[in-house]
Amino acid sequence: MSAVTSILTPIRLDYTYTAGRATQRFLLGMAEGRILGQRCPQCTKVYVPPRGACPQCGVPTTDEVEVSGKGTVTTFCIVRIPSDVLSVPPPFTCAHVLLDGADLPFFALIQECEFDAVRMGMRVEAVWAPPAELAPTFESIRYFRPLDEPDAAYETYKEHL
């Protein structure tokens, strides 16, 4: 008889979780194929997704702004092990994408190019889900793909690494 060394004990917790005002605006934008951020009235930085307040100035970010689906890869990583979250098989490339008009890069999957063709400064654009599948989730943007544009100069994004 072999010793019992471990047991599995699945636990389930149900939550009612609300997105909050700022995130809700962003998610409703996602369902319409739009990227909505908020601008800080003091430092004028644009946060996408918005959190409702500026983490630097501590004031509400009340001005809603729509930003472009185009942006610049500031830095990236090639993932060569399977992800629990993404169904994409490795290797795949995830990047920090600074959207045109935003002041904070966000993490995004890059597709429609070789995984090792991604580079710092590369210009990319959002690829949206088909209209019927747009929903109030981040997944409405399926991934980003390369744009046929020259790379952005390092100086233009070096503050956003």
Binding site: T5, S6, I11, Y15, Y17, A19, G20, T23, L27, C43, K45, V46, Y47, P49, C54, P55, Q56, T74, T75, F76, C77, I78, V79, R80, I81, S83, D84, V85, L86, P91, C94, A95, H96, D103, L104, F106, F107, L109, M120, F138, Y154, K158, E159, H160, L161
Partner: protein, 385 residues
Amino acid sequence: MAERCAVIGVGQTKHDVKRTDVSLPGLLREAVDRAFADAGVGWRDIDAVVIGKAPDMFEGTMMPELYLADALGAAGKPMLRVHTAGSVGGSTAIVAAQLVHAGIHERVLTVAYEKQSEGNAMWALTVRIPFQQAIVAGAGGYFAPLIRAYMRRSGAPEDTGIRVALKDRQNAAKNPYSHLVFPDVSYEMIAGSPMLWDPIRYMETCPSSDGACAMVLASEAAAKRARQAPAWVHGTAMRSEPTMFAGRDQVNPRAGRDCAAELYRKAGITDPRRDLDCAEIYVPFSWFEPMWMENLGFAPEGEGWKMTQEGATALDGDMPINPSGGVLSSNPIGASGMIRFAEAALQVRGLAGEHQVPGAERALGHAYGGGSQFFAMWIVGRARP
């Protein structure tokens, strides 16, 4: 004027991938028993317990401090839990030191641990939070882009990370508590190991470990009665910053720079590379050695890699970094920061064994956590401050 505080006992477990031979309380007791033997104290001598570990989800044991109180002799004594993600081992020790500095307690037991084999840290780090973007590939996926940004900014040679890993893995072979030891480790072995989160290779990555670390901190009066030479606390500092704000420098975070500046001011350090004899810094991925050396002011910004390439950070260099083998060799997450603090104490007490830096007088212990946003540091010395 604060009371003086000294480390009079240090204990750690043999770190390993699965410590199935001990329960969670048993793991902690192994470290505590060794710290007590070092200090020459017993349970009755302890006034309070300060405990830390990484977030509860990593093991799925919620508020484990309640369940562990009996095993740590804390029944009827003050017990405090500290939460600061990966930096927790460091900040736990600092909270314990503050209880002594404040003159509240004579001897405080401080413990930090992780039993990674009983949980799934990778899952805990990538779990979906409603309405938020998922982190896709655990800590490696988070930190790899920052390393690439450092490489671009500094122009460091691409093999800098390999050289860090080689040095740490060679040091680990001199440390009997190390989890990962590769007796025949070579530059080629590391360079040829698979990329996991490019630019991070397998052998440039920390392991998942089971392990614990404990220290007995004491007032000056209690330190005089200790069994062996103490390590005196010359200064402590903690800083944090938000995960995300526009223009945040995650490669050389301001919280880390400010933390180091306060620490050096308290400890009377004007030139850290000259004034300190060695440092144990939190390097979970090889490239964080040059990154943190710049953040800590051992090298000017953009030049930390030169110290690695020149061998300055080796055990026989002028600024040995991680003589113990570091987080790359043993990573019981919650304990990893405290092991840095404890190893710094062992160095200035002259008790580090085979990985002793000869004549070490002053040493730095460093921990960081979260998205490079929580920092905890201390400087310990052989001399009473």
